[in-house]
Symmetry: C2
Subunit: 126 residues, 2 copies
DNA sequence: GTCTGGTACCTTGCATAACAAGGTACTGAT
DNA sequence: ATCAGTACCTTGTTATGCAAGGTACCAGAC
């Protein structure tokens, strides 16, 4: 035990993926439907996004429960049935605002670096 | 009770902040030290980042525990003591990679939209 | 026949983080 | 004395990513 304190950077990247990953999937579905395993392989291959089935499948279920995607089963000639995911109108309407939110967040994150001080605190003693 | 299912978008933004918020603080400290309450007010005022004390203070403690920041107490002429936070060398060395990681993540997130299919699956029946 | 490996789906349990709500304490004005 | 503003901190809830494990289908090797 006591192997909890991993590399702080690795630990941070896990948190940084939250939310972004969901957006990745919605973006991936914007132009075409895709099946789960395809998303696992596609997203897992992206550098910095070493994502696995244990992450993707629960996320897809959540998106369906929220009404952002619909699913459709289809036979495959080379294996089990595939479950294709496609955006609903609600899902399609969400992608834009979500991309905008993340962009704004990052802009603010960068801009804050060059902000001297919000309320210009009277310089503290001396 | 049973007020669990809030607005999915609001819920998502909470998750999207994870990690980014930590980076915001490190960026804010890159050019100058700041005290906790100042960060609460500065970050809380940013649009889309309605962040409060319950979020910032635990985060700052975590950063100190990880050795990314140091603290220094200082008397204030108008209230209780202020705890100033400053980057350590380790912290300073982390800011660049973290900004890079987030940028790459977002780039991948956008690029995935125009990717036809990763392994060009033989078109399924018909 | 039965193994092995690839495809394809799903669930459980753990660690981590944001946030609301609440708590403490110092200062100056009404 | 009471209130508001400054300034710090903690606890409990909820939501997420992910490793690990499980099921099932198919094709080719043995």
């Amino acid at each position: 035990m006591a192997e909890s304190a991993e590399d702080p950077f690795d630990n941070w990247t896990v948190q940084a993926r939250k939310g972004v990953l969901e957006l990745c999937i919605l973006n991936a579905l914007e132009r075409q439907e895709r099946y789960g395993y395809e998303l696992v392989k596609t997203l897992g291959a992206l550098p910095g996004l070493g994502v696995t089935e244990g992450t993707i499948y629960p996320l897809l279920s959540r998106l369906r429960a929220q009404g952002l995607v619909t699913t459709r089963l289809e036979q495959s000639v080379e294996g089990p049935m595939r479950k294709y995911y496609a955006l609903t109108p609600t899902g399609r309407a969400s992608v834009g605002p979500m991309n905008g939110y993340i962009s704004d967040l990052l802009s603010a994150c960068r801009e804050i670096r060059r902000r001297p001080s919000s309320h210009d605190h009277l310089d503290p003693l001396r």
